[in-house]
């Protein structure tokens, strides 16, 4: 019960502060769930992957995944309900009282001003995903600059580089990248044991 209440509180906060949708939730998941030891950085990376190849918004997928992992099915339902609750409250209030003011200049400016900050936080989420994936370490405090090259897991780095080229240069869809990386990883690391 305590765990469900904690789940509800954490995901309510995540829903309330994920401004800009989707990936903007990632830094909050890192701070709240990884920070409190409810998930590992690797699991957060796995949610991103799972979310790309399953239907629905990232926020809901992430909440269900984290909730079910931590506290079973009730955890999933509570986390999902909690993550949408701020949206429900804020959006219906706005729809009811301020629907004509959706172009409110101050609100839009504040949201616009938040974009660089949210983007910086997403960049930090990319680093937090890169540490376990490319170096096998869990947090930035374990990272040493003198082993930045020698500590790199070369096959994984090649995977990341090729995926990056496929996404940025050739505009391939994330679903395709995840599936291709999964199949290549299964063959290379699973079957041939690279």
């Amino acid at each position: 019960m305590t765990q469900l209440l904690l789940m509800a509180w954490i995901f309510f906060k995540i829903g309330l502060f994920s401004i800009g949708g989707g990936y903007a939730m990632l830094p909050l998941i890192n701070s709240e769930l990884v920070g409190y030891g409810l998930m590992t950085a690797v699991e957060v990376t796995d949610i991103v992957a799972v979310s790309q190849i399953t239907p629905g918004p990232f926020a809901i997928n992430a909440a269900t995944f984290a909730g079910v992992k931590t506290a079973g099915l009730p955890g999933g339902v509570v986390a999902t309900a909690a993550v949408v609750l701020p949206s429900l409250i804020i959006t219906t209030l706005l729809a009811r009282y301020f629907f004509k003011f959706e172009d409110n200049i101050i609100v839009r400016r504040v949201m616009w001003g938040l974009r660089p900050v949210v983007t910086g936080l997403i960049a930090s989420a990319a680093v937090l995903a890169a540490l376990p994936a490319l170096y096998g370490i869990e947090s930035f405090s374990d990272f040493r600059w003198d082993t930045a090259l020698s500590g790199l897991d070369i096959p994984s780095a090649v995977f990341a580089l090729l995926s990056g080229i496929a996404i940025i240069k050739f505009k391939r869809s994330p679903v395709l990248i995840i599936l291709a990386a999964g199949i290549a990883g299964l063959l290379l690391f699973g079957v041939f044991g690279v």
Partner: protein, 191 residues
Amino acid sequence: MAERRSLLRIFLTMLKIGALTFGGGYAMVPLFREEFVSKNGWISDEDMLNMIALSQSVPGAIAVNCSILIGYRLKKLRGALVALSGVVLPSLIVLTAVTYLYTAVRDNPYVAGALRGIRAAVVALLVSAFLSFMKPFYKDAVSMTAFFAAFILSVVFGINSIYIILGAMAFGVTAGIWRVRTAPPVKGGKP
């Protein structure tokens, strides 16, 4: 017509969109438009565009916010709840199954191999995400300062993202009011 706009129809339409859209919020928005504006004519295109803009300006997932607004517009609070449930339910069911499966098989050597490849690909995915979000402001010194400040506070100092966002909001309100006359008007950008 009034019959057709029943709660059940709203629920089923949202359920369909929730079950068939891969890739999150921005993939859903065109489907909302197709179903509620083009196909059913329940909502005018102008209203829909306003709702999409508002969805981006409030906290939470864009698809979730947009579905709540559509439901509310059609059937008030009950409509909002029904629309939200429809959009959320497929994810909840699929992800519950996937999570149990993941926990059971993640240590299997073949699955572990696949996951090792996928985790590296996700790094590239996230890098490409923040690079594309950066496009509208990478030439603006103030924005880039905010970007690096948030990045360093988060990675190096491990400050909780909520405090960074709260700090940025407080700063944004002050600076926003101060800059309101000088800066050009802004539009909703990409996710």
